[in-house]
């Protein structure tokens, strides 16, 4: 009985503490915004709020320049105008803590005991990076919750819910589309075949293995959700919606605030006739690695998704600091199953921070 009580209180303490710290940060951010010159709130939050204001006035959220997200986000933030400016931030920190809960559930489903699962969750819940990002008003935690929800439903084999959440997450940001291949590979009928001899029959058998009930169900529900949302917002806001939400990101060549390895190359060739070909050449390593990672690791879906996101973010033509959260939310899922020693792990972490420091150093040094 006593152990049960300690177990329960232990489980809820970490989630409550995580929420309380984030709430305190939101309150502090409000204080800093009102009293100091350097604002705590991110400019993106003001973009969302302005777009939500346009919606409350019956106009398109794309009247706000640099609003490049789904109208769903602006609709969700309309209480910012009707209730309080803090609503959006509270929503984001709730999704943040929800992501932590989803991580805990996935870890339990993958066979970890409660104590270890909670400790691993603390990597997300007590991590200053997602705390800071959500309390500053970035919407990344909504997407983290959707992606983690999809993975949880896949682990628990609730395919329809997984498909709904997947369709929603692809609608909100394009990058989860890369998970389609590992999910398809995971859902197809696996037959123990001898694929050493590639013949037309085994190739057709391979294609045929994709045509099973589960995969078709997933594809139709996810596709249906995505198409329905796209059709609805296209009807409401027209071509501008398609362009700002999807096409802009596909052809984006942002040369400012960029962590991408291609940024200088794209800046120097921005107006030359080779820029299209260079863009394609930059896309190839990303595509090849995504295909290889899908095939090599599709049996462990969270690990495969983590690799996909890490590859996508690292080899993308545009990378801002928000992108790092996309694979950070999946890291706690795979850490218990890694065979890295603590020393190696810490060494890699230091290497990651050193890389960041070298990249940002020249920009932050005085004299620029």
């Amino acid at each position: 009985m006593e152990r049960l009580i300690t177990g329960l209180t232990g489980k809820y303490v970490i989630f409550t503490a995580a929420f309380a710290i984030r709430l305190a940060l939101v309150a502090y951010g409000d204080y800093q915004d009102r009293t100091m010159v350097v604002k705590y709130t991110d400019i993106d939050y003001h973009v969302f709020t302005d777009a939500a204001r346009f919606i409350t006035e019956g106009e398109s959220p794309y009247n706000r320049s640099t609003y490049r997200y789904t109208p769903l986000l602006a609709w969700m933030l309309t209480p910012n105008i009707h209730l309080s400016m803090m609503f959006g931030k509270i929503l984001f920190i709730v999704c943040d803590v929800l992501s932590g809960l989803l991580i805990y559930r996935i870890l339990r489903l993958r066979g970890l005991n409660s104590e270890t699962a909670r400790r691993v969750c603390a990597l997300w819940l007590l991590n200053p990076l997602p705390m800071g990002v959500s309390s500053r008003g970035n919407a990344e935690s909504i997407l983290a919750a959707l992606v983690l929800g999809t993975l949880l439903c896949m682990e628990a084999r609730h395919l329809i819910w997984a498909a709904v959440l997947y369709g929603l997450s692809v609608h909100m940001k394009i990058y989860p589309i890369t998970y389609a291949l590992p999910i398809a590979l995971a859902l197809r009928t696996t037959r123990s075949e001898d694929i050493k001899r590639w013949r037309w029959r085994s190739f057709i058998g391979f294609i045929g293995s994709f045509l099973n009930r589960e995969l078709l169900l997933f594809a139709s529900v996810a596709g249906g959700v995505f198409c329905m949302l796209t059709a609805l917002f296209y009807y409401m806001y027209g071509w501008e919606f398609l362009h700002e939400t999807y096409l802009y990101h596909l052809t984006r060549r942002d040369i400012r605030h960029n962590f991408s390895p291609y940024f200088y190359m794209l800046y120097l060739t921005a107006d030359s006739r080779w820029s299209q070909w260079l863009g394609l050449a930059a896309f190839l390593p990303q595509l090849i690695l995504l295909l290889v990672a899908s095939w090599a690791f599709h049996s462990d879906l969270p690990f495969c998704c983590f690799l996909h996101t890490a590859v996508f973010v690292s080899f993308n033509k545009v990378c801002t600091s928000q992108y790092f959260l996309w694979y950070l939310c999946l890291l706690p899922l795979i850490i218990p199953h890694l065979s890295l020693s603590v020393k190696q792990g810490v060494g890699l972490l230091i290497l990651w921070f050193t890389g960041q420091g070298i990249w940002l150093g020249p920009g932050l040094l005085p004299g620029v």
Binding site: Y267, P285, W295, V368
Partner: protein, 244 residues
């Protein structure tokens, strides 16, 4: 008869008062034009700067005189309309932009623009005015002549003055008379007198870093080589350790 004389005298004196007052205000404006000074300085470093415009008006009674600062900005910088909107709520000036500003285009794809700043909209105009406007640098094309910085020149703004009570603006030669919006809501145009520049302050130069265009081949080659090698190495490693 005395009544007629009295009324004529009253009329004459009122007329004299009117023309005298008009002369007073126009004379005041003329004195302001002769002794006012406007200057601009740029603070902060990097791509996000502040333009501080200082206006010194000559020490006279300044009731009824309205000031307008017209900045002509070059294509290499931009102002963020949303930032300006939130700033003008907190400060006492209002700003009007002459065109929509794209916040993300590089410099060679845009053109310069004009802003009208109305300081101290409510209340009397003080002798010393300071208006701080945040200015942001645009990205420029890479340079091909080895220079690592490009220069953008910001000129001092034009100082425009007007008062309700002086309407004969043609007497202020050589200062030009221009039409400009009366207030920041651009509902009507008024005639303003433009201060002839004393030419004592030239343009302020801003330096923004640019890339080196002559390095395009090594940069492209190097970037693609590194990413291809990483891709091949990672693919081999992933394939070797694949889960069966």
């Amino acid at each position: 008869m005395y009544f007629v004389l009295f009324s004529v005298l009253a009329c004459l004196s009122t007329c004299h008062c009117f023309t005298g007052n008009d002369e007073n205000h126009c004379g005041l404006l003329k004195r302001l034009l002769e002794s006012s000074r406007v200057s601009v300085e740029i603070n902060k470093k990097g791509f996000h700067r502040e333009a501080v415009t200082t206006v010194e008006l000559s020490p006279d009674v300044l009731s009824g005189v309205r000031v307008l600062l017209v900045h002509r900005w070059p294509r290499g910088v931009y102002l963020d309309p949303y930032q300006l909107a939130s700033l003008s709520v907190e400060s006492d000036w209002q700003i009007l932009l002459d065109s929509a500003i794209d916040l993300e285009l590089p410099a060679h794809k845009t053109s310069g623009f004009v802003t009208y700043v109305y300081p101290t909209v409510d209340g009397p105009t003080p002798r010393l005015l300071k208006v701080t406007i945040p200015v942001h640098g645009r990205y420029h094309k890479p340079s091909y002549d080895g220079k690592t910085f490009t220069s953008v020149d910001i000129e001092a703004p034009e100082l425009l003055l007007r008062t309700e009570k002086c309407t004969q603006l043609s007497i202020f030669e050589p200062h030009a008379v221009v039409d400009a919006p009366c207030t920041a809501d651009n509902s009507s145009a008024c005639s303003w007198v433009k201060l002839q520049h004393q030419q004592e302050q030239g343009a302020v130069g801003l330096q923004f870093p640019v890339g080196d265009g002559s390095l395009v081949t090594p940069v492209c080659g190097g970037t693609l080589l590194v990413t291809m090698i990483s891709c091949v190495a990672l693919s081999k490693y992933l394939w070797k350790h694949r889960l069966v």
